[in-house]
């Protein structure tokens, strides 16, 4: 297993280097530092002198080769530096935004896992009946609606019309539950269609296995078959798909956070993109890549932990 992990980590290096090169080409090649300076300087018509000062202050006045070396080393050791525009420490902002993002994404993830699994088991139990067909139809309908419609629609329905919770804002600590209620519900409803369909498939796949037939032949009741045998084995792909969503957990949900005005990392990213603060965008792209790689490695590791048949070599 250790050899496998080392190998996976080594494989990750070219991916990270590729991302670093690509982000550098996009942010410093296609869009020149001078354009960046013009975009950020407050003056209506910046002079060449003002542009040079701006570039010098941020270290963007160096030759491209040197700049790449510097950007590469800093990002590689997770030194994200400061925002181009406000000059705030990027790590500091990530730390502040991680709490609200993790709270919403984490709760949405757990609740949707529990609720989706419950419904999927119900559908699997009633497979072939009209309840199963009705449930499948409903999940397909839920799956067909774009995410942004859920966000705006539920904000309008639950927040504005029915007034079940604040439509914007956030408070840290225990009071935060009031603010995360609707966003979590959005995450739950928006994701439930796809998850139920997926989990139902996992469950049905297991229900056709030989060991299930053996259990039934031994006289185990349908409920027992479903809960004691099928459930455990179907959880293997469920757990792994859940762990793969680790980046979302940390980086937050971009649309939900900006719509509900949650001061999380997703909102921070939207703001940076709108303001063309590329130092932040570069950092977030790199962090996202890193977390995705970690998520995939964790998925593989978890596979071997929960399924004794899988050996990482």
């Amino acid at each position: 297993m250790i050899r496998y992990l080392v190998r996976r980590l080594l494989y990750a290096i070219p991916t990270l280097v590729g991302v670093l090169v690509l982000t550098f080409v996009i942010f410093f090649g296609i869009y020149s530092p001078e354009q960046l300076a013009r975009q950020n300087i407050a003056v209506k018509n910046p002079t060449p002198k003002q542009i040079n000062t701006w570039l010098k202050e941020r270290g963007y006045d160096k030759p491209r080769k040197e700049l790449f070396k510097e950007q590469f080393t800093h990002l590689a050791i997770l030194d994200f530096g400061k925002s181009d525009r406000s000059k705030e420490d990027i790590w500091d902002r990530i730390r502040k935004g991680a709490g609200p993002s993790a709270e919403i994404a984490g709760m949405a993830l757990i609740t949707s896992l529990v609720v989706a699994m419950t419904f999927a088991m119900g559908l699997a139990y009633f497979r072939g009946t009209y309840l199963d067909r009705l449930g499948t139809l409903l999940t397909v309908l839920l799956l067909s609606v774009p995410y942004v419609v859920y966000v705006l629609g539920m904000q309008f329905l639950l927040g504005k019309l029915l007034k079940y919770g604040p439509i914007a804002g956030f408070e840290r600590g225990f009071a935060s539950w009031r603010f995360v209620f609707i966003p979590v519900l959005v995450g739950l409803i928006a994701g439930i269609g796809g998850s139920v369909r997926l989990y139902r498939t996992f469950l049905l796949e297991e229900m056709n296995q030989d060991y299930v037939r053996t259990a039934r032949a031994k006289g185990v009741k349908e409920g027992g078959v479903l809960f004691k045998h099928v459930f455990k084995n179907a959880m293997i792909p469920v757990i792994t798909t859940t762990v793969a969503s680790l980046p979302v957990l940390i980086l937050g949900s971009v649309i939900v956070e900006s719509t509900f005005n949650i001061p999380g990392i997703g909102n921070y990213l939207v703001d940076a993109v709108n303001k063309q603060d590329f130092a932040i965008v570069r950092a977030m792209v790199y962090l996202g890549t890193l977390l995705t790689i970690v998520g995939f490695i964790l998925t593989d590791v978890l596979y071997s932990v929960v399924d004794p048949r899988v050996r990482l070599e």
Binding site: Q35, R38, Q39, A42, V43, K44, N45, T47, P48, K49, Q50, T53, K82, R85, S86, K87, E88, R93, K96, T118, M121, G122, Y125, F126, L131, L152, Q155, F156, G159, K160, L162, K163, Y164, G165, P166, I167, A168, G169, F170, E171, A175, W177, R178, F181, E222, G223, L226, F227, S258, T259, F260, N261, P263, N267, Y268, V270, D271, N274, K275, Q276
Partner: protein, 661 residues
């Protein structure tokens, strides 16, 4: 979910009831986005975006201005309720400045010495940057420090260029800051100094008449700043989280993407509510002469989503809401209050901005530039094809008025009866087509070569609304038979192309720095050609000469006559197509008093008053949660379980029957 719940449903029903109780408890906590204990004496205005900079030397952002003005007082301020014309009054100034005429030995030497005297009761807010945390008295040395920061090129002060050619020795001093920064702040400036006889007076030496200096003394750039704050916090932190001012309010807290919170500054000098107003604003004089501020706190939740902001305002959790181009298509109040808004007692203010939107030709372009009669006619024809009213009605939702020339309403030099002969839109385009033919392009085709005329239109349309605008102008010009090709890029590239003189035709806007026709007319002054602010490269010697004459004059009939002549010259040359003077609107909640937007009185929030009891009452009335949908949902849930029960019972029955058989 064990299948036995379908046989013994009561535990499931109990769980449902538990979930229902929890939901009801949750809903019962209300939808207020703020903690209840912070309800009183706090005005809430939406902050559209994070602070760009709170550094008065650096910030040039329309969103930051009204906050900075509350923390950093200037020598002058604009009279809040006097707008026709705009008037300055002393703010932390003790007396109107004196101007001493000098005899310059050579060009560039001091020709005038302006002396500004400051109030002696002004103190910086308490802050750890001062000994013992206690704010000290403000003197002229603190204003001199602000001038040094303006000269220091590292600060990129947006108005430094206005002073560079007028304040004696500005450029030389600026170079000194580049080479010996640490010592430069200790050394004296050539053209700005503290009066040797009075520590509360500042002398500024000018090499030419420049009455607009007074307007710069009303801007935050010239506010007193404490060097101690800069030393303690550094430029970045000082400019974002630790502003140290001497104004009515001080910053308590700024959390990016969350909120900005200003609280009353206990060290602020006594200020009074205005006693003068324009005839149409006298209804706001109810509190005339009373001590301000009435409120203790200004709280700005930072919100970027227009839909969320409008919903929050409708729920009563924002005290006012600005309607501008960005949210005009979402907030249905740009043309007037809706029935619902009227029933709730909301009011709508119409705000006239000191602003102009325009389209411009590159006057050095071989096809569209130049000053021959044919080239003029070509531009005049295109100008006649642009229908401003269509833009105002369709895109700006009625917020604006068609522009006739460069000077907007509210400034001396604006003539309300003047009609630009090349801005009178005729749906049949008869005159436009005739002029186009006379220019040598009948129906948009070159009479000599037979080629269709092609106009490349540079723009920075990166949002949906901006794209709508650009396509509208494209469609309008194409009605003349001209092929309009769009060249859209993001703002930095667009701006760079203008500065490098690479554009043929472009659209832009200008927001006044101060209420003087000079601040608009200079956009067509030849020596200001790009990379200066004259992006269209217009250069008419007569216009230039008139501009040089008028800029040093005070407002009056003689100056207005010169401005009228400048207008006639430039209208005939037609370097610009004057599109509209934009407007905005403000929606105000019924519990808010004295809220009235002024484009120049940035500190107007200090006059606002609230009725907190009415706010709490109406917020309660407007935000009663509707519980019946939860009960309906519960009913649907129970109804959904019943068929499942039937299915399980059927299956069980079949199994029992099989076993019996």
């Amino acid at each position: 979910m064990h299948p036995t719940i379908f046989l013994r449903p009561w535990p499931a029903v109990r769980s449902c009831l538990l979930a229902l109780s929890a939901t009801l408890a949750l809903v019962g906590c209300g939808n207020a986005p703020y903690p209840a204990e912070k309800e009183r004496s706090k005005v809430r205005i939406v902050g559209g975006a994070n602070i760009t900079s709170f550094d008065p030397t650096v910030s040039y952002n329309a969103g930051d201005g009204p906050l900075i003005a509350l923390v950093y007082p200037s020598f002058y301020r604009y009279k809040w309720l006097k707008r026709n014309p705009y008037e300055l009054e002393l703010n932390f100034g003790a007396a109107m400045p004196t101007v001493e005429k000098l005899k310059p030995a050579k060009p560039g030497d001091a020709a005038e010495r302006w002396t500004y005297r400051f109030r002696k009761d002004l103190r910086f807010q308490d802050d750890p940057c001062f000994p013992g945390g206690k704010g000290r008295a403000v003197t002229a040395a603190d204003v001199l420090y602000s001038f040094k920061r303006m000269i220091d090129p590292v600060n990129e002060c947006p108005i430094a260029s206005y002073l560079a050619d007028k304040v004696v020795g500005w450029d030389a001093d600026s170079k000194r800051f580049e080479t010996a920064k640490a010592k430069a702040y200790e050394a004296p400036l050539a053209g700005v100094r503290v009066d040797p006889k009075d520590p509360y007076a500042l002398q500024i030496d000018l090499n030419q008449p420049y009455p607009q200096l007074n307007y710069l003394m009303a801007m935050a750039f010239t506010t007193p700043q404490a060097s101690e704050a800069m030393a303690k916090y550094g430029k970045d932190d000082y400019g974002l989280h630790h502003p140290v001012g001497s104004g009515t309010f001080m910053m308590r807290d700024y959390v990016a993407n969350d909120h900005i919170d200003l609280v009353r500054n206990p060290a602020a000098p006594i200020e009074r509510y205005p006693t003068e107003a324009d005839p149409n604003l006298t209804h706001l004089l109810g509190d005339a002469g009373k001590r301000v501020p009435f409120i203790d706190e200004v709280y700005l939740p930072i919100m970027t989503e227009a839909v969320t902001t409008y919903n929050l305002f409708q729920q009563g959790y924002l005290d006012s809401l600005s309607i501008a181009a960005g949210n005009a298509q979402i907030v249905p109040a740009s043309q007037g209050l809706t029935q619902d808004m009227k029933a709730r007692g909301m009011t709508l203010n119409k705000n006239v901005e000191l602003n102009i939107d325009y389209l411009a030709f590159n006057m050095t372009d071989p096809t569209f530039g130049g000053y021959t009669p044919e080239k003029r006619k070509l531009r005049q024809a295109i100008s006649l094809a642009i229908n401003s009213q269509e833009y105002i009605d369709v895109i700006a939702q009625g917020m604006g008025q068609p522009a006739q020339w460069i000077v907007p309403p509210g400034l001396a030099g604006y003539d309300p009866v003047y009609k630009n002969p090349y801005r009178q839109f005729d749906p049949k385009l008869e005159k436009a087509k005739r002029l186009l033919a006379e220019a040598g392009y009948p129906d948009g085709v070159d009479a000599k070569t037979g080629d269709r005329l092609v106009l490349t239109y540079d723009n920075y349309a990166t949002t949906a609304t901006a794209r709508q605008i650009v396509r509208l102008y494209q469609k309008q010009i194409q009605r003349l038979g001209i092929d309009v090709r769009l060249n859209s890029s993001e703002y930095a590239t667009f701006n760079s192309r203008i500065n490098k003189r690479q554009v043929q035709f472009f659209n832009f806007g200008w927001l006044a720095d101060y209420p003087d026709a000079e601040n608009f007319a200079f956009l067509l002054y030849g020596p200001n050609a790009a990379p200066g602010p004259n992006g269209c490269l217009y250069d008419n010697p007569e216009y230039n000469k008139l501009f040089e004459k008028m800029r040093g004059m005070k407002d009056g009939p003689e100056r207005e006559a010169i401005i009228a002549r400048m207008r006639d010259v430039s209208v005939e040359d037609c370097p610009w197509i004057y599109v509209d003077y934009p407007e905005s609107r403000s929606l105000i909640q019924p519990w808010v008093k004295n809220s009235n937007y002024s484009p120049l009185a940035n500190d107007a929030t200090k006059y606002v008053d609230l009725d907190p009891a009415m706010r709490v009452r109406l917020q309660g009335e407007w935000n009663q949660a509707k519980l019946w949908p939860i009960l309906v949902l519960l009913g649907v849930g129970v109804a959904a379980v019943l068929p499942a029960v039937a299915v399980v019972r059927n299956r069980r029955g079949r199994r029992v029957r099989k076993e019996n058989a």
